[in-house]
Amino acid sequence: MSQSNPVKAREHLKPPVTEVGVLGWIHQNLFNNWFNSLLTLLALYGLFVTIPPMFKWAFVDSLWFSGPEACREIDGACWSIIPSNARFIFLGFYPEDQQWRPLIAMILLFVLVFYTQNRKSWNRALFPIWVCGLFVMGWLMHGGLGLPVVETAKWSGLPLTLILALFGMVGAYPLGVLLALGRRSKLPVIHSLSVVYIELIRGVPLISMLFMSSIMFPLFLPEGVTFDKVLRAQVAIILFTAAYIAEVVRGGLQAIPKGQYEAADSLGLKYGQAMRLIILPQALKIVIPPSVGILISAFKDTSLVVIIALYDVLKTTKVTLSNPEWMGYSSEAYLFLAVLYFIFCYAMSSYSRKLEKALHTGH
């Protein structure tokens, strides 16, 4: 019989204080060598120099709800520019007596988005719900059927930004997926058309596409035929974003092992079924982070429509700043805009992280 070594009663010792807890964390992350310690101290000094004055400017010496005259007296931030001009910043030239319409339309939009973000509502009813919702929104914004008509030229401010962004994303994503599939197609015509489209669009800045859509495109139309300017900008944004989405999705498609295609084929699935049921769900999941990156930048790029004289929320804010009464408060106005854009973009990116987690199936 072999004899094993007697096992000593196991002692449970605490790890050294410098390794765990707050002290351990500080030691490991901030002061683990002399260079990092120096950097930490420098960073602390930098924060000490900048934060208190900024805080004082933004919150202590600031005015939030006052007239422009009161602002001239103070050293701090004049946030009053936002509430005093809120109507124009958010709704721009939309007729004042009709302004409840874009407000309701925006609320409807938020409700729809909020409803859709829950994966439990992804079923057959979702599409008709969106179609109805968009129809009601379109009716509210544009009018007709009992409401006075408001030309799209007067749509401005936040509703315009959100409409361009949302439709841009919703339109660009499926188009991008189709282009990605087209680029991987074995049919030479479809393949080369997709390649030409993607490379052409990616080689051109969005600004020039917006210019082309608003200035050059009408020249080619027969006389009397006009397309709405907002619609033209919208189409330009969709076409532009789709090309970028296409390349990202193509990357996802390439990441799917050949065996998945073969398994789908060997069950007798048709090409469309194999793509829809097997390949795309996996590929699109892989490319959630980069596609959301593109969608976020598309959201921000909607502000470029100023160059074709559309008044999105950035432009309405700028117009407010050109009002002599409120001139000189651009820091406040632009900070506010930054926060506004950040809220939307951060919501998108945190949702994408949530989605990624929810779709993870442990492989």
């Binding site: 092992p257 065996g259 998945q260 073969e262 398994a263 789908a264 084929d265 060997s266 069950l267 007798g268 699935l269 048709k270 079924q273 049921l277 097997i278 769900p281 996996q282 999941k285 779709l359 199936t361 442990g362 492989h363």
Partner: protein, 256 residues
């Protein structure tokens, strides 16, 4: 040679379920398969072996057109494989395939993996497809995992699911492409047991494998391939005890 041993009943028609006539295949300049002639009767179990690169996987992948052949004819269940997509889909629905690396769909649960084909190809109602799926999962002894995702299963379990996925389509023929080669040794048996059961039930099977024990116990015919040709085929007893060809002898001496 149609060896009807084990008192097997001859198939209702004399038409072979798979017929390959003078088939050639090239990868670019490389002649992978050369003059393949093969008839498989219903309920026949055929094991194909041979050194790697001999074209045995390519051969069975031609049968459901995962690979295209360039010359000769392949007729499966009366349908000739040509560029006609409709025919290819028809053949694929009747021919089950089990891969070396399982190729389960990782984004779907086990039961969804099994019902996908029946629902979308066979147009079976979901409820019925799920019942059938559970029946096959029980058959491969894995029913309790139905709600899990493939990534949560061991290799042997995944391969059994893959077999069940093919069975759900009620195929006329099953093709196995080295089904145990990617498995840990202790998992090989559980997969082979399932395949042996299947063979006993009279499934028509073409199996590419190095498991010679399996070949001995269930095969009606063993084929040896080398350099893209069928070098020798015989019933398992004669094949293993009395190989005719030098290359077969060499191969057997290396693996047995």
């Amino acid at each position: 040679m149609d060896d009807k041993k084990n008192g097997q009943a001859p198939s209702t028609t004399d038409r072979p379920i798979i017929e390959i006539i003078g088939m050639h295949k090239w990868y670019g300049e490389f002649h992978v398969l050369s003059d393949i002639n093969l008839k498989v009767q219903e309920k026949e179990r055929i094991v194909i072996c041979g050194p790697s690169g001999s074209g045995k996987s390519t051969l069975i992948r031609c049968i459901n057109r995962l690979e295209e052949h360039q010359r000769g004819r392949i007729i499966v269940d009366g349908i000739e494989l040509t560029n006609d997509v409709k025919n290819i889909e028809k053949v694929r629905a009747e021919v089950g395939m089990v891969f070396q690396h399982f190729n389960l769909f990782p984004h779907l649960t086990i039961v969804e993996n099994l019902t996908l084909g029946p629902i979308w190809v066979r147009k079976m109602p979901r409820k019925e497809a799920e019942e059938a799926a559970m029946k096959y999962l029980e058959k491969v002894k894995i029913a309790e995992q139905a709600k899990k995702f493939p990534g949560q299963l061991s290799g042997g379990q995944q391969q059994r699911v893959a077999i069940a996925r093919s069975l759900c389509m009620s195929p006329r023929v099953m093709l196995f492409d080295e089904p145990t080669s990617a498995l840990d040794p202790e998992m090989i048996k559980e997969v082979l047991d399932v395949m042996i059961d299947l063979a006993r039930e009279g499934m028509t099977m073409l199996v590419v494998t190095h498991e010679m024990g399996f070949a001995k116990s269930v095969a009606d015919r063993v084929m040896f391939m080398d350099e893209g040709q069928i070098v020798e085929e015989n019933n398992p007893n004669d094949f293993f005890d009395n190989p005719q060809h030098e290359r077969t002898k060499l191969f057997l001496s290396q693996i047995l």
